[in-house]
């Protein structure tokens, strides 16, 4: 018995050619084909992370609860246990909570991490009666968060142009360090242009070098030849 399309010989009794799926008509042979493999399927791979996550969640909750009870009993108020509870919440929701999902999307969880960090810093600031949150902590965390989210989005969704992206991001990082020093200057009254000039010049030069390498093909190929992994 042969397939009329592929020309290959087929096992007696098959209903269609396994290569081109052309139906086979054989009035002489009515027997089903001999089985080459059984119908037994292996167990699908089980994810072993859920028991660990559940255990870790319970441990986190127990630590938070113990700290809260201890604080309430000792001081009749939430004192240092606020740091513990919120710190655990930040770590848990940033690093462990995404593992409950099969494919955690970084563009969802990365902003969540920075938002939580902001909330934690706000708590510390308010609890201590500080005045550094709005003028320093908030803009710095937002700036770093924005850079991270933009980098991830660009590397994830833009095909090619990795050198342009890396170069541009390095220049942006350099510029951000100057902004951070400016926030430091406004909030704490430190001197301007003490350390940020070094970082700005380093990151900007490195970024410009990568942009040049992206623009000049022979240079890019030379670097690729010399620095390949």
């Amino acid at each position: 018995m042969y397939c009329v399309k592929c020309g290959v010989r087929l096992t007696e009794g098959v209903a269609r050619c396994p290569l081109c799926h052309t139906p086979v008509w054989n009035p002489v042979c009515t027997e089903p084909p001999a089985q080459t493999f059984p119908d037994r399927y292996p167990m699908p791979p089980k994810s072993s992370r859920y028991p660990f996550l559940a255990f870790f969640t319970v441990v986190c909750m127990a630590v938070c609860l113990s700290a809260l009870i201890f604080c309430l009993k000792t001081y009749n108020a939430v004192s240092w246990s606020g740091y513990v509870m919120l710190g655990i919440a930040v770590v848990y929701f940033s690093f462990f909570f995404p593992s409950w999902f099969d494919k955690p999307h970084p563009l969802v969880f990365l902003p969540l991490f920075f938002a939580l960090t902001c909330g934690y810093l706000l708590y510390i600031c308010l609890y201590n009666g500080g005045r550094w949150f709005l003028s320093f902590a908030f803009p710095v965390v937002m700036l770093v968060g924005l850079l991270c989210v933009v980098s991830v989005a660009l590397f994830r969704y833009v095909k090619g142009g990795k050198l342009y992206i890396t170069g541009g991001l390095l220049i942006a990082i350099g510029g951000s360090t100057m902004l951070i020093e400016m926030f430091e200057h406004i909030t704490f009254g430190t001197k301007m242009f003490t350390w940020s000039l070094y970082t700005v010049s380093f990151f900007s030069l490195f970024g410009l070098f990568l942009l040049l390498a992206a623009l000049i093909r022979p240079m890019r190929e030379y670097l690729e030849r010399k620095l390949f992994l």
């Binding site: 592929c6 290959v8 096992t11 396994p18 290569l19 089985q35 080459t36 493999f37 292996p42 791979p45």
Partner: protein, 421 residues
């Protein structure tokens, strides 16, 4: 008594590092007998071979700096085969035993995690296991030879050595190859399609000789021509990529090694379709020349050195395992699989001692799909039959259809068997 352990050989180091939840590098050798397999006797044979093959009866363990293999105290339990070959070996299974012994009707099969051995080592284990099984079943006296080892002898040191370290050259040969075309299709999880082309060996040898080449090169050239045609139909000329077939070279033949562990390196002969069209004869000539030029002991020593040097580097050795794993994954994705479109792994003509030959009707070899190749091809010949096994994890059998039809056009009769329901 403390358990024996051994380091992974140089080629084996990469496989634990690059395995994932969905993919692990496994291959299978199988033997079809003339009568149904008795699982109890097979279990007995598997148990009796434990002292003879200490490098096979092992489990994968994780150290601080390297993975290693640790001997197991109980032999693996023989199991009925699954609906498809090379079912995923989960981490738990690798931590128990890195090989599986399976049976179904007349066939007994052994599936190996690639860190244990390569196809040649696997075939030696299968032949010895089959010989022991047949001795238990029929009371045969099977003399050692033709790949069957004396099961009562202790293993010699040469069989357990890492031959890569011994045959590494003084100078490193780095090659800068362009990336090859990546075959694609609709991914099908949790099933592997196996299509076996059963071919009379004499007609295959005749067709290869008509093209003035060997069976391996002939099959690789037909495969390459099939891929070239598929690319021609779907990709405009300027965007076409080199088409290369990865051919493993058994280094035991080059260096006279007796090791039962991995001792194989791959070459990627191929052509760039942007240079023009190629006939089958031209492909045979090009690939034959490329393989002959590359597969020399001197050249291979340089290639071995390229793999061995990082393993011996004191700074890299001191890096913790998770750092090494990240580095090896990076290297593998950049250099490991990107240089070829498909494997063409040929174990060659297999022989068996005369006493067991009447009881064996077929020997087969199946290499699993690679991490980024959806197709793979492996070949083994025994007696008058050559089995060309093509495996895929995608829905479309376009490459198989093209390849086997081309063989038929060239006057090579092909009978197709498949595990599709």
């Amino acid at each position: 008594m403390s358990k024996q352990w051994m380091r992974l050989d140089n080629a084996a180091l990469i496989f634990p590092a690059v395995r994932s939840k969905r993919w692990v590098n496994v291959f299978r050798v199988s033997c079809t007998l003339t009568e149904p397999v008795d699982p109890n006797l097979l279990q007995q044979a598997v148990t009796q071979l434990m002292p003879r093959f200490p490098s096979m009866y092992v489990r994968l363990r994780r150290g601080l700096f390297w993975h290693y293999l640790e001997e197991i105290t109980a032999p693996p339990t023989v199991r009925e085969d699954y609906a498809y070959p090379l079912a995923h070996m989960q981490e738990r299974e690798l931590r128990t035993c890195c090989l599986r012994v399976l049976y179904f009707q007349n066939r007994l099969a052994v599936e190996f995690f690639h860190s244990l051995t390569d196809g040649t080592g696997g075939m030696i284990y299968l032949k010895t296991l089959t010989a022991r099984y047949l001795s238990l079943r029929y009371g045969l006296e099977i003399p050692p030879g033709d790949g069957v080892l004396d099961w009562q002898e202790p293993p010699c040191r040469e069989e357990l050595e890492d031959s890569f370290l011994r045959h590494s050259g003084k100078f490193v040969l780095y090659d800068r190859e362009p990336d090859a075309l990546r075959l694609r299709g609709t991914y099908e999880p949790d099933f592997l399609h196996l299509t076996t082309g059963v071919i009379p060996t004499d007609s295959l040898v005749r067709a290869a000789h008509d093209h003035r080449t060997t069976v391996t090169v002939f099959l690789a050239a037909v495969m390459e021509l099939s891929i070239l045609e598929l690319q021609q139909e779907h990709v405009p000329l300027a965007q076409r990529k080199p088409v290369k077939v990865t051919v493993p070279v058994n280094l035991r033949r080059l260096y006279g090694s007796k090791t039962l562990r991995n001792f194989v390196l791959t070459l990627n002969p191929g052509v760039d379709p942007r240079m023009g069209d190629f006939t089958l004869q031209e492909l045979c000539d090009v690939m034959s020349c490329q393989l002959k030029a590359e597969a020399t002991p001197q050249n291979m020593s340089g290639r071995i050195a390229a793999n061995v040097t990082p393993q011996l580097n004191p700074v890299l050795r001191a890096a913790p395992l998770f750092v090494k794993n990240i580095a090896m994954r990076l290297v593998y994705s950049r250099r490991g699989e990107s240089k070829g479109c498909i494997n063409m792994s040929n174990l060659g003509l297999q022989r068996l001692p005369g006493a067991m030959a009447p009881y064996v009707s077929r020997l087969e070899f199946v290499v699993g799909v690679q991490r980024s190749y959806p197709n793979n091809c492996s070949v083994a010949s025994y007696g008058r039959t050559t089995c060309v096994n093509m495996i895929r994890n995608i829905r479309e059998p376009v490459l198989e259809q093209r390849f086997f039809s081309k063989l038929v056009e060239l006057g090579v009769p092909v009978q197709i068997e498949s595990n599709e329901k």
